[in-house]
């Protein structure tokens, strides 16, 4: 008994979980493991496991709620969910499909990635490899700050500033690159008739994803192993050659996952796109023409008119479910790439 009191007195914290049974060796202080460890350990484990479980439960709850809520729409629909290009859930019989809005979502997000990722990689390289340290940290902070700007602000800026000031650019694209169908506007003749196109939605989205993508890329590039950079320098590499031979190969999967996360953000973006786009419910490859819609913008715009029609609401739930599934897959893929990167140093 005296041995035990000694041990307890030596321990740093006042409270003690009950010690395990004495095993009766030469050193009575060495005891069997108490079942669940000390109190602190137990509390911490419960807390972390609980938080983890909560996240999972939330995900499953959202997913299953969407499935249940969307179910009536699936039955009532007289069109094909994946090929129909109209959205009339309140018609009799209801007819709607996500073909056009899925097209709008995918195309505007792809434009965002195609434009945004190279710019973001360039920014990240500049910040992590070229700028002197002081300027790099200032600019790095600004980028992170930009990521915190609400998307509504981007949408308003896009609608009231960017679009009016880039009509000429869209007209130029249509006039001189119009032989490529995606740039051709078949209806507009005056500069003022260009504007709220899928292309512009993609550009606004590109600006929105640049901060997050640049921020991740900057982190990845900054972790290029010093010895690898030294190796390139010692072989006579210039700064650009160091980037090409050491920084970019090392960061390749990081760039890929950053792009995927950017894509995920672009796919799910709602309010900015809803503001920038003027509604149009057809698949239209002419990206400078007005109109277009995305899944997310449709949901936010149609909720008002859905009113109390159960089928209309269920139809929007169905659209939400599709978006949920797609972004889940995109993000999970991005995470998988990151995880694989971590596993193989």
């Amino acid at each position: 008994m005296t041995e035990m009191t000694k041990i307890v007195a030596k321990a740093p914290s006042g409270k003690q979980a009950p010690l395990g049974p004495a095993v009766g060796g030469a050193f009575p202080g060495i005891r069997a493991l108490p079942g669940a460890g000390r109190i602190g350990d137990r509390v911490f484990r419960t807390l972390t496991a609980g938080s983890g479980a909560l996240v999972l439960v939330t995900m499953v709850a959202i997913g299953s709620y969407l499935v249940v809520a969307a179910w009536p729409a699936l039955h009532a629909n007289s069109g094909n969910l994946f090929t129909t290009q109209v959205w009339r859930p309140q018609a009799d019989p209801p007819v709607f499909g996500i073909a056009a809005i899925a097209f709008g979502t995918v195309v505007s997000s792809l434009i965002a990635v195609v434009i945004g990722v190279p710019v973001a990689v360039g920014v990240a390289l500049g910040v992590s490899q070229y700028l002197p340290r002081r300027w790099a940290s200032v600019l790095g902070g600004l980028i992170d700050l930009l990521a915190a700007v609400p998307s509504l602000v981007f949408g308003m800026w896009g609608l009231y500033y960017l679009i009016p000031h880039t009509r000429g650019f869209q007209q130029w694209l249509s006039t001189y690159l119009g032989w490529i169908p995606i740039f051709r506007n078949r209806t507009a003749t005056l500069t003022g008739q260009y504007g709220q196109s899928l292309l512009m939605a993609g550009i606004v989205l590109a600006i929105m994803i640049i901060p997050i993508v640049a921020s991740i890329c900057r982190e990845v590039f900054a972790r290029t192993p010093g010895p690898t950079i030294d190796a390139a320098l010692a072989l006579g590499a210039t700064r650009w050659e160091v980037i090409r031979s050491a920084v970019l190969p090392f960061g390749r999967s990081g760039i890929a996952s950053a792009a995927m996360l950017g894509l995920g953000r672009a796919l799910g973006e709602t309010i900015a796109v809803a503001l920038v786009l003027s509604s149009g419910f057809t698949i239209n490859w002419h990206l400078t023409e007005l109109g277009g819609d995305t899944v997310a913008s449709t949901i936010v715009l149609k909720f008002g008119e859905a009113g109390s029609s159960p089928v209309a609401i269920a139809a929007l739930m169905l659209a939400g479910l599709c978006l949920f599934a797609v972004t889940l897959v995109v993000n999970a893929t991005a995470r998988l790439i990151v995880a694989r990167k971590v596993a193989t140093p």
């Binding site: 010692a234 090409r244 190969p249």
Partner: protein, 259 residues
């Protein structure tokens, strides 16, 4: 004939801090010169001034001159990347490019510089460099595996092969064996002895037995106190430095009394 290196009154700085002061030394061609001394004595910093790697550290700058067969490496019109192609370097930790194959690692110098050669020529460079680095036998059958699949000692010899593949005149080695086991160390040391007829070699080492084994001449650096610059104390034939040094500090260090 490999070149001689004449260093005159060289100071090396990190920002305002002078890490190395007043080094004047003549490194003889075709010999192995060892730089020894306690930690923080500036021997690695000094080594990195010889291929202008010191200045890539933020705040790193140099005063004084380093001449390679009379040509000032710090001259006004000198391109530091050209200096680094002439004065190759091997580092403390083996650092093959992790994303490249063994083959690509050897020709990395040319690949990085965008130099295009026919495949047969590259094949020759790879084989001769790996043979010169005593690594050919061990890797010939797996040239297209990643360099990271090799053991530490093999990786270090791969780095030596990569350094000599661009045909430098000088090889700098910054504690090349400190991360290796004794067997690999032996392999690298015997390689150094073989290479010295073709390259002027300067090696920094913490291991005095190694300096005694591989070098023809030894330079002893020391530092008076923290925050003080490192200085070259004594330089001479290795046997002399280890048995009949002029300075007490050198005798104490090689005798194991400090450092």
């Amino acid at each position: 004939m490999p070149p001689r290196i004449d260093v005159h009154n060289l100071d090396a700085y990190y920002g305002d801090f002078r890490a190395v002061e007043g080094v004047t030394i003549s490194v003889e061609p075709g010999e192995v010169t060892a730089l020894i001394g306690p930690s923080g004595c500036g021997k690695s910093t000094f080594l990195r001034t010889i291929n202008r790697m010191h200045e890539v550290t933020p705040g790193g700058r140099v005063q004084g001159s380093v001449r390679l067969d009379g040509q000032d490496l710090y001259g006004r019109d000198i391109d530091p990347t050209a200096v680094r192609r002439t004065v190759g370097m091997v580092f403390q930790r083996p650092n093959p490019f992790p994303t490249m194959s063994i083959y690509d690692n050897v020709i990395a110098g040319d690949k990085i510089a965008g130099i295009k050669r026919r495949k047969a020529v590259f094949d020759d460079i790879v084989e001769s460099s790996l043979r010169a680095a005593n690594l050919w036998q061990e890797v010939a059958h797996r040239l297209h595996k990643t360099g990271a699949s090799l053991s530490g000692g093999q990786q270090q010899r791969l780095c030596i092969a990569r350094a000599i593949a661009v045909q430098p005149a000088v090889l700098l080695m910054d504690e090349p064996c400190s991360a290796l086991d004794p067997i690999s160390t032996l392999a690298v040391e015997s390689l150094i002895t073989q290479l010295k007829s073709d390259y002027t070699i300067v090696i920094v080492t913490h291991n005095m037995q190694q300096a005694a084994r591989v070098s023809d001449r030894t330079a002893f650096f020391t530092v008076a106190d923290q925050g003080m610059p490192g200085r070259l104390v004594e330089y001479g034939p290795t046997a002399e430095i280890f048995t009949a040094a002029t300075h007490q500090a050198t005798r104490d260090y090689v005798g194991g009394r400090f450092g």
